[in-house]
Each structure stands twice: as structure tokens, then as C-alpha cells.
């Protein structure tokens, strides 16, 4: 086990770019999401300090973090970065409050009620990118992130959190859990996925008595090992541990999956697996 974690950490260390960040894959330009997850996984090490420095100075415009290659913001990754900054005690050079504020100003577009599904399209949470629709994953990351920043008095608006929670509840699949987007389309139920369910459950951990959360947790506990990947198993492990559910089988499955995760070399997946498997972690970055 210690060897597994050592190999993951070593793989991350080797993949760190000179600018302190990580691309999704070795030799690629530093990107926000893998850098944020790697900062979490390597917190307290020299590489983690370099990652913290990279996040501290990460390019931004009007409080929204941007990729160095250009293009617009990705709200989901902004949320992940804020989560890592909160956990690692990183302040952004532009003022972290401005990053928190900017995330609250942006919303997914509001649409008329769907003609092809049961969901309430008037709810606005977070889209991946500007001027598009709210989806489960960016909403869940941004919601969890803002909840983590509530105690720091950075001006988190409870109304935004409430609407995001309502959107996630509205989007849950009939049998529990979350697809990446809709619960149904053209009258057919869509099936939930493990990673999106795990992230949404992390974001809703304050609502554990809600029937949707209970159903979704049951779904995750039953299906956590059905999606074999470093990302899916690591997120499932984090969510189940956060809710105090059984996680031994997921932990074993993740360890079994590591050779493939390492071979595919996605730094975000490697970092999540390293964080989830670390025996020293209390999963503080993801718990409220």
C-alpha cells in the first residue's frame, strides 16, 4: 500500500512542469485542473509548495482563472482550484475573495422547461463554460468549493448555494445517483454514473437526510466498483468515506486499478488516486 502511494506520488513528481504546474499528461502544458488535484495530493512536500506557488499566480481575468493557452474560463475547474486553494491555504495574487466572488457571479443559462425531460431548466447553477447550460459536475464542484469557503467570510451567497442544491436534487436519476446532465431524455431514464454521483454527494453532504441523497448514497455503495478507473474509484472512495459508508472494496479496487491509471498517465487521475489512498488523509479538502 505504501509502495502504491509512493509510486503515484513519484509519478506526479516526475510529471511536474518547471512552472510548478501539471499538464493532464507528461510533457504537456500546465493546466488548472491537474495542477489543483496534484497540489492536494502533494501538499506538505516541496513539489506541493511549487504547485501552491503556481496556483497563487495562476492567470486570471475579472477573478476567473484561465488556462495559459488562452480561451475562456472553465467554471468547473475554477471550482476545483478554489477547493485546492482552501485546503492548502493558498491565497491568489489577485485576492482570493475576488475568485470566490467571480464564481458566484457566473451562472448557467436559464431555459424554458424542457420538452424532452422532467427537469427544471429554469434553475441556474454552473455550466462548464460561459453562456451554456448548467451541468452536474461543474455545479457540484463549484457548490462544494463555495461551501468550503463559507467559514472564511469571503462573501458566499447562501442563495446561490440553495439554487445549486435544488438543481442537483432536480437532476438526480430516478433510482438515485447522477448522470452527467439530465435524469431522462425523450421519455427514457438515463443511468447514473459513479464519478458524477460521488462529486454530487460530496457537494450535498450537508443534506444527507434528503431522500435523493439517501437513494444516491445507496446507489454509490452498491455500484462504486462497477466503473473501473482511477478517477471513478478515487471519487467513490472519498464520497463513501465522507458519509461513513463501507469503502474497503472500493479501496481494494482502486489499488488493483493503479497499474492502468499509472500507464495512462493522466495527472488529474493519478493525483486523485494518491489523495484518496493516502492513509494520512482525513479527506479534509472534500469534507465540510
Amino acid at each position: 500500500m505504501t509502495t502504491d502511494i509512493h509510486h503515484l506520488a513519484e509519478s506526479l513528481r516526475r510529471g511536474q512542469n518547471a512552472d510548478g504546474g501539471w499538464g493532464y499528461f507528461p510533457g504537456k502544458a500546465s493546466r488548472l485542473e491537474p495542477t489543483a488535484f496534484a497540489a492536494l495530493a502533494l501538499a506538505g512536500t516541496a513539489n506541493g509548495a511549487a504547485a501552491a506557488a503556481a496556483l497563487h499566480q495562476w492567470p486570471s481575468t475579472d477573478g476567473l482563472l484561465l488556462e495559459r493557452a488562452g480561451g475562456g474560463p472553465n467554471y468547473g475547474f475554477h471550482g476545483v482550484a478554489l477547493l485546492a486553494m482552501r485546503a492548502c491555504g493558498i491565497e491568489h495574487v489577485a485576492g482570493t475573495a475576488s475568485l470566490v466572488g467571480a464564481l458566484q457571479r457566473v451562472k448557467g443559462v436559464r431555459l424554458e422547461r424542457s420538452t424532452t425531460g422532467s427537469q427544471d431548466n429554469t434553475l441556474q447553477a454552473w455550466s462548464w463554460i460561459p453562456q451554456t447550460f448548467s451541468w452536474v459536475e461543474p455545479t457540484a464542484w463549484c457548490l462544494l468549493s463555495l461551501k468550503k469557503w463559507v467559514p472564511t467570510n469571503r462573501g458566499v451567497d447562501p442563495a446561490r448555494l440553495d439554487e445549486a442544491e435544488r438543481l442537483l436534487i432536480n437532476r438526480s436519476c430516478r433510482a438515485g445517483g447522477w448522470n452527467y446532465g439530465n435524469a431522462d431524455v425523450l421519455g427514457k431514464d438515463l443511468r447514473p454514473y459513479v464519478p458524477t454521483t460521488a462529486i454530487a454527494l460530496l457537494a450535498l453532504q450537508h443534506r444527507r437526510d434528503h431522500p435523493v441523497v439517501e437513494r444516491s448514497l445507496d446507489y454509490l455503495e452498491e455500484h462504486a466498483t462497477s466503473e473501473r478507473s482511477g478517477t471513478a474509484l478515487a471519487l467513490a472512495l472519498l464520497a463513501l468515506r465522507t458519509y461513513g459508508r463501507r469503502d474497503n472494496a472500493v479501496r481494494s479496487a482502486l489499488i488493483e486499478q493503479l497499474p492502468v491509471t499509472m500507464a495512462l498517465q493522466n495527472h488529474a487521475a493519478v493525483a486523485l488516486a494518491a489523495y484518496a489512498l493516502s492513509s494520512e488523509q482525513t479527506y479534509a479538502a472534500f469534507t465540510l
Binding site: G23, Y24, F25, K28, A29, R31, E33, E67, A69, G70, G71, N74, G76, F77, L111, E112, S114, T115, T116, G117, Q119, N121, S127, W128, I129, Q131, T132, F133, W135, E137, P138, Y180, G181, N182, V185, L186, K188, Y193, P195, E227, R228, S229, G230, T231, A232, V260, T261, A263, L264, N266, A268, A269
Partner: protein
């Protein structure tokens, strides 16, 4: 459901009622000026499309595709090839994805034909978790066994390139660096009905080249700008060199994910993706002239008319059938005499 249509090929209207994200049709920003400069595109006088039998997935796809390369006169010597399969979602006993044996067979055939290198790249449209997809579909094992490199097009480095047509109204698009470095791009779809676009094959498959890390999932910007518009701009800009269609077991009904497997038994190949898709449409009982993106593509990207398509391998009649389609797509059906 809002319907798309073409207005003489000048501008395709968008369908916005997709997955709840789009509710009101709008006219692409390119309307008011021609969405493409005809001088930039060369439509061949004739296009060859090959149909090669493959009864099941036990077939020798390296041999079948190698034969196709020879019969179609495709020269890949010294080329840096990127194979773009269609890998969307995993469900056992379905026909959602290009079969990994077809992908591996294509890689081996192209290597044998002299390609300098062959990589496989995909950026799934709604599943972010590529590790799950490549392992669950079995592709990972074939890639490893044949030492084929895989590129995650959703998360690769990107470069912004100008679009060569303006159906979406966008000026530029971010594309994977590895995709742009390749000098021979092979689109390798699974032949399926598509509940919004009518059919998904070689052209629609290019949605998976758009980086989700930049545009979100399910490639939001493309859906907002219109599926047909995006198909046209992507094909005009990327200009795939070859299509290899997995139509051994295809999908009918509520595709591209929730439809039913349908055995057809062939691999389609051709350098003109419009001709390949038009041929596939005719085989499954859809009229390519009624599929908005294909009808428009037939005006500048490739050949749609039967009279401009040279058939190689098996005749269309050997495989011609009528796929089940959702009710709203029945107007796309071919009127067979």
C-alpha cells in the same frame, strides 16, 4: 421537437432542444454572408466508396482494411496517422462504440501500408472518464498489445485554429495539438442512427475531436451553435483523409446511445467522407439529401449523388435495409422503388 432544415445550403438552422440545453432554434451567426468560400474546397468529380464484408468481429480487420486501402488507392507511406474512433459510452451487449478490434485492425493495416506512426485519439462527448471507457470497451488491451499510443483529445494541449467555414458563426476553434500534428486523419465511426442528426457516421464522429476541457461536456458550444452547423465546420476545418466505418454491428432506433444493435456485416471505407456517409445513409434506408448536414456538405465538401460515387467491393444492394428510426426521423427515410 424543433426541426432543422437547410435553406439552399447557405445556412443550416440549429436545433437547440438537445439534452435540455437548447430550447429555441436560432439562425447561425454566419447567415447574411456565405458560410464558406467555394475556392477553398475541392469537390472531386468522382469519389470511391468501398464496402467490404465482415460477418462478425472474429474477422481479420487488418486484412479487410488493408484490402480497402489497396482497392481505394490510399497512400499512407510516411504519414503520421491519427485514428479517431467513436467511443461514447459503455453498455454491455450494445453497439455504441467502434469495436476495438476494428480500431486495432486499422492501426495494423496502416502500419503495414507504410504509415510512419499511428496513434488513436478520442475525446468522448459526455463521459469525461477516458480511463473507464478505454478499459471497459477493451480498447486498452488492444492498444497495449499492439503498442499503439492513445491520445485523450479532451485533455490534450490545444491550439486555436481558424475555421474554414462559418456555419456556426465561430471564427476559431481549439483543437488538440496531436490532432493538428497528424497529417493523415482517419475518422472511424460506428454506424448509428442519431436521434437529433438522423445518422451519425464519419462526419458526426468529428465531434469527438473537440476538447471538452475547453468547451465543456457534452461539447456545449457545438450544441448551442447547432449540431449540423458544427458537423460542417469541423469537417471543413479538419478535413479527414479517410473514413473507415464499423458497420459490422450497427445501431438502429434511438441512437447514438440508447438504440438497438443491428447486424449489417460490412466495413465502409473512402477518402470522401460525404460519399461514405451518403452511402451508409442509403444502406440504412435514409435519404442523404434529407439529412441537413449531409445535403449541405454535398454542395462543397464531397459527393452526395449516386452518380458521383464509384462503388468498390460489394454493391450497396447487398446490404441495403431499413433501420428502425424514431418517429420524428421518419421523414428522412429513403423512398425505395
Amino acid at each position: 421537437m424543433p426541426r432543422s432544415h437547410s435553406d439552399g445550403g447557405r445556412c443550416v438552422l440549429a436545433r437547440r432542444d438537445f439534452l435540455g440545453a437548447m430550447a429555441v432554434p436560432f439562425v447561425a451567426a454566419a447567415c447574411g454572408r456565405p458560410p464558406y468560400d467555394p475556392a477553398l474546397f475541392h469537390r472531386p468529380s468522382m469519389s470511391a466508396v468501398g464496402l467490404f464484408p465482415a460477418d462478425d468481429y472474429a474477422a481479420d480487420f487488418a486484412e479487410i482494411i488493408g484490402r480497402g486501402l489497396r482497392e481505394l488507392g490510399i497512400d499512407v507511406r510516411g504519414r503520421h496517422v491519427l485514428l479517431k474512433p467513436n467511443m461514447v459510452e459503455y453498455e454491455s451487449n450494445t453497439a455504441i462504440n467502434t469495436h476495438p478490434l476494428v480500431v486495432a485492425g486499422a492501426a495494423l493495416a496502416l502500419r503495414s501500408a507504410g504509415a510512419a506512426d499511428v496513434v488513436v485519439g478520442e475525446g468522448p462527448g459526455h463521459r469525461r472518464d477516458i480511463e473507464y471507457l478505454v478499459t471497459q470497451t477493451g480498447l486498452y488491451d488492444h492498444l497495449r498489445e499492439n503498442r499503439i499510443r492513445f491520445v485523450d483529445l479532451n485533455h490534450d494541449d490545444v491550439r486555436y485554429v481558424p475555421l474554414r467555414s462559418r456555419f456556426t458563426g465561430l471564427e476559431t476553434i481549439a483543437l488538440s495539438s496531436e490532432l493538428l500534428q497528424a497529417d493523415f486523419i482517419v475518422t472511424m465511426p460506428k454506424l448509428k442512427t442519431h436521434h437529433w442528426a438522423g445518422m451519425t457516421a464519419s462526419m458526426k464522429n468529428l465531434f469527438g475531436t473537440v476538447p471538452g476541457a475547453v468547451y465543456g461536456w457534452p461539447k456545449n458550444i457545438l450544441h448551442m451553435k447547432g449540431i449540423e452547423n458544427s458537423i460542417l465546420d469541423l469537417n471543413a476545418t479538419i478535413g479527414p483523409n479517410l473514413a473507415i466505418v464499423d458497420a459490422v454491428t450497427a445501431m438502429e432506433g434511438d441512437g447514438p446511445i440508447m438504440g438497438n444493435p443491428r447486424h449489417v456485416g460490412f466495413i465502409a471505407m473512402g477518402a470522401d467522407v460525404v460519399s461514405v456517409d451518403a452511402t451508409c445513409a442509403r444502406i440504412i434506408g435514409l435519404d442523404p439529401a434529407k439529412l441537413p448536414y449531409l445535403a449541405t456538405a454535398g454542395k462543397f465538401l464531397g459527393n452526395l449523388d449516386v452518380g458521383r460515387i464509384q462503388q468498390r467491393g460489394e454493391p450497396v444492394s447487398r446490404y441495403a435495409t431499413m433501420f428502425d428510426v424514431p418517429d420524428h426521423l421518419k421523414t428522412f427515410r429513403l423512398k425505395r422503388t
